[in-house]
Amino acid sequence: MTGVEVRDLGGGYAPGRDALRGVGFAAAPGAIVGVLGPNGGGKTTLFRALLGELPVRRGEIALPAPPAYVPQTDRARLDFPVSAFDVALMGAYARTPFWRRVARADRDAARAALARLGLAEQAEATFGALSGGQRQRVLIARALLQDAAVLLLDEPFGGVDAVSAARIEALLAELRAEGRTLFVATHDVRQARGWDQVLCLHGRQIAYGPPAAVLTAATLQATYGSELIVLEGGRTAVGVGHHEH
């Protein structure tokens, strides 16, 4: 597997105004890249660019294969009459001809993906009836079915219970060991310290590199600006406002 390489990326939805600019980095296979930045800082926009959905005006993106995407759970309709299994199965839709049922191998894979995330017993539960953390895990199971070399996870730890967070964290480590490249948008600076690379965004790229080199007070200040809170003893915390959609 080859990694992900982005050179001098710039683009945005509004004509003539870039939501994101000056982004350039290389991520090796088997790496977890933490993507940090304030709300509206360009984390989701970067993911849209990697998915080929953002009007890109400058630069280049090199990917080994189309990435899989795990959205924030609040983007999914909770009133839809679908089970956790139905949602996981959506990951196999693209390779299923319309006149066929989804293949037995894919249905087995959907059950296995749910079991891997500790949801074997919730497979037949209605998606909207699950807890926020369980819903997040179902959406990750859906992405697992795509068997993608690159995964983009949009704040997978946001509003998630401790059990779900531990499951997700363990899964990320497994996927890294399988040689996949993971991009994880997060607000948790401490968590990002445990990953391989960190990308700081604030409309443009502030920094990219190993956590020890990137996660300095100065970089965090430049990334989060007024949202950064400096605690006693020089420790920092990020105060993030309510996420508006």
Binding site: L51, Y69, P71, R75, F80, P81, D86, A94
Partner: protein, 265 residues
């Protein structure tokens, strides 16, 4: 059984297929207002068609396509919300229809039939057209239901899942427009929702999976349609209004029963 009654029953049973299949997606994708509008905008077209001797389905389809194009134009650039644009076009079409019917062509009694449908008015050709629309709805649903499900559940990931949902969604709107057009003769321009929205909305109260929702919606549409034809014939009133009263009553009864069950549980 009188031939007109046979035709009316066949028409209602055939309408149950697109009514149940597309109705499921209308309810899940929140397209009930669009569906109502696409039927209503046919009204001025139908008045012109009857005055000029054009096939009513042709005029209705042209109105529906014009509505779709106008809707797209009005909402482009997001200056107007889609439901506001729909409301605007709906009122405009209704007003244009009334002016054309009463002041330009003096259509008189014909207007009732166009707005609320007629049993006796269902011709053999109407039944055949409905059969074709029913077959088309089955084919569309078979080919695109996974796209409609994935895009409706969570639109942001559809492309990442490798699905081209923009085209699938456009075809859904076209399918709804065609279903509304073939429903016009039996239930009328103002009441297409009786076949395309209410049965699926009722089934939605009772089911927890898309598969059972579709079957139950077809069942409700067929049973309510047949009952409406028989009652309308016995009482000598329009089938559309009878179907509306029946379907509304069934929906209310199911809603009360399911909420009582939810309280008891």
């Amino acid at each position: 059984m009188a031939p007109y009654l046979q035709r009316a029953l066949a028409e209602m049973l055939l309408l149950a297929v697109p009514g149940g299949l597309l109705g499921t997606w209308i309810v899940l994708r929140r397209l009930a207002f669009f569906t109502h509008a696409v039927g209503t905008v046919a009204f001025p077209g139908l008045v012109l068609a009857s005055a000029w001797g054009i096939a009513p389905q042709l005029a209705a389809l042209a109105s529906a396509l014009g509505f779709g194009a106008a809707q797209e134009r009005l909402t482009r650039g997001r200056r107007l919300a889609p439901d506001a644009a729909t409301g605007l076009l709906l009122v405009g079409a209704l007003a244009a229809g009334v002016v054309l019917a009463s002041d330009v062509f003096a259509s008189g009694a014909g207007v009732d039939r166009l707005l609320f449908g007629s049993l006796i008015g269902v011709s053999e050709r109407d039944v055949w057209l409905t059969a074709v629309a029913a077959a088309a709805a089955v084919a569309l649903d078979a080919a695109l239901r996974r796209h409609w499900l994935a895009a409706g559940f969570e639109p942001g990931s559809a492309r990442a899942l490798g699905l081209r949902t923009a085209w699938a969604d456009r075809l859904l709107l076209c399918g709804i427009a065609v279903a509304a057009v073939v429903a016009l003769d039996a239930v009328g321009a103002l009441l297409v929702g009786v076949v395309l929205v209410v049965p699926a909305a009722t089934a939605r109260l009772l089911t927890r999976r898309v598969g059972t929702l579709r079957l139950a919606a077809i069942g409700f549409a067929a049973a309510e349609g047949v009952a409406a034809v028989l009652v309308a014939d016995a009482l000598n009133v329009g089938a559309g209004p009878v179907a509306a009263v029946l379907a509304g009553t069934v929906f209310a009864a199911v809603a009360v029963a399911t909420s009582a069950r939810a309280v008891a549980a």
